[in-house]
Symmetry: C2
Subunit: 257 residues, 2 copies
């Protein structure tokens, strides 16, 4: 049987250990083409480059992690996917896998996530797609324990048909010694970030800010991604790019417009 | 009665004619505070600035368009809203209005839209919010004909309670002489962009790309924003930031995970 063609990308950049681990895992189940940003793109949301040029460089060295070929791209994660699908790949990939992100993209973080924007871009273009994130921001995080779970989720997605208009947002709890307890299909927990801006004065006397914040969970449900992660499970949230709040249409039709 | 406090922002930057028109319209129904990017931020999606500093400058001159006060900010539209809510405003605004964007944010464009990312950020933080866009990319577009419709939508949003977890994505057709036929509550049309990368060679012999593309409507429904706009109506899509595809959860639970 022909091996599946797997497009791999991320938002932490082509040198990130999470991406390198993902390339190794994916090379065990398919032919991997990597098109990833040449520098970190965290917090880029679904940004695309419209006012600047894009460059893509093919790595002439053999991939140390088993990919067929690797490209680094000057753009955002969504740019990488667009460029891969339109210019780099000569056929449609069987699946696009983004990550493994260094840090959680569960709950409201999906909105700010470059990792998920890459997966969503692939989904919009009709390619089954999954974003993987590990709830550990450390550059030297341990990804190895998640190998079998990630391969299992990708294999199932290749074997089953991905629900239409849906991409998967997979988050993996940080584990010390044990393995995750299992995999749970979840909904996105309600939450937001309580921002705190760290205000400072620059050497020329002008104020500036660093954005910092605390995650605030507003949801006690036991069917959410945050609950699953807090209880040692891998969370899988089916995520859509039709943002219509269908339930609100009737209510808005009662407004005097 | 106390006038409502209206936070106004956009993604085309503080000098954009669409923003200036919006400030004038909003000053007729409330007290307006402007916190807008100091430079164009189109295509920024829901980007936030995590790896760099932010600056906000208060304009000491009187607003030519009737705002109480105007700030320009070095960040993205979502940064502007975060900074406004946490640092600049001394009370929670009654509503956040983003726009008027120079160009459509209907259909799948909502995903890439800085205008809508500002509104969504406000919605996440519990502030009712609306993004307005005019389907005319011209810098010298005519916004004036939309004055009454925009004021009517904002007044209704202030008067009614915004549905929970929902922000409004309002798109206005480009009109030559007539007024829009009316306002329709819609769903987001299914569509995508067929990318074409314009490949060029730089003076040093290296390839680079410009992202271009053609909008491809995949949806013949007469309840969509694209249908409304094509038929001379203003479209209002209730837009949510819970991205969970609830209908897909059952199907995913049948996978062998």
């Amino acid at each position: 049987m022909k091996k599946p063609l797997i497009l791999v990308t991320n938002d932490d950049g082509i040198t990130a250990p999470g991406l390198r681990a993902l390339i190794r895992f994916m090379s065990e189940i398919g032919e991997v083409v990597v098109v990833a940003p040449d520098s970190p793109q965290s917090g880029m949301g679904h940004a695309i480059t419209v006012d600047d040029t894009l460059q893509a460089s093919k790595d002439d060295k053999e991939s140390p992690d088993g990919a067929l070929v690797e490209y680094s791209c000057s753009g955002t994660p969504a740019d990488c996917v667009k460029l891969a699908l339109q210019e780099i790949l000569d056929r449609k990939p069987d699946i696009c896998i983004s990550g493994i992100n260094h840090g959680s993209n569960a709950s409201i973080n999906v909105i700010y996530s470059g990792t998920m924007s890459a997966a969503i871009e692939a989904g919009i273009e009709g390619v089954p797609a999954i974003g993987f994130s590990l709830c550990d921001y450390s550059w030297n995080a341990n990804f190895e324990f998640a190998r079998e779970a990630i391969k299992s989720i990708v294999s199932e997605a290749l074997h089953n048909k991905m629900p239409k208009g849906v991409v998967l947002n997979v988050n993996i709890p940080k584990m010390e010694a044990d393995l995750p307890k299992g995999i749970k299909i979840c909904r996105q927990a309600r939450a937001n970030w309580k921002e705190k801006f760290d205000k400072r004065i620059n050497p020329r006397g002008k104020e500036y800010y660093w954005l910092t914040g605390e995650f605030e969970l507003l949801d006690k449900g036991e069917d959410t991604d945050e609950w699953a992660l807090a209880n040692g499970y891998i969370s899988v949230v089916p995520t859509q790019f039709d943002l219509t709040a269908h339930h609100a249409i009737q209510e808005l039709n009662s407004w005097s417009l």
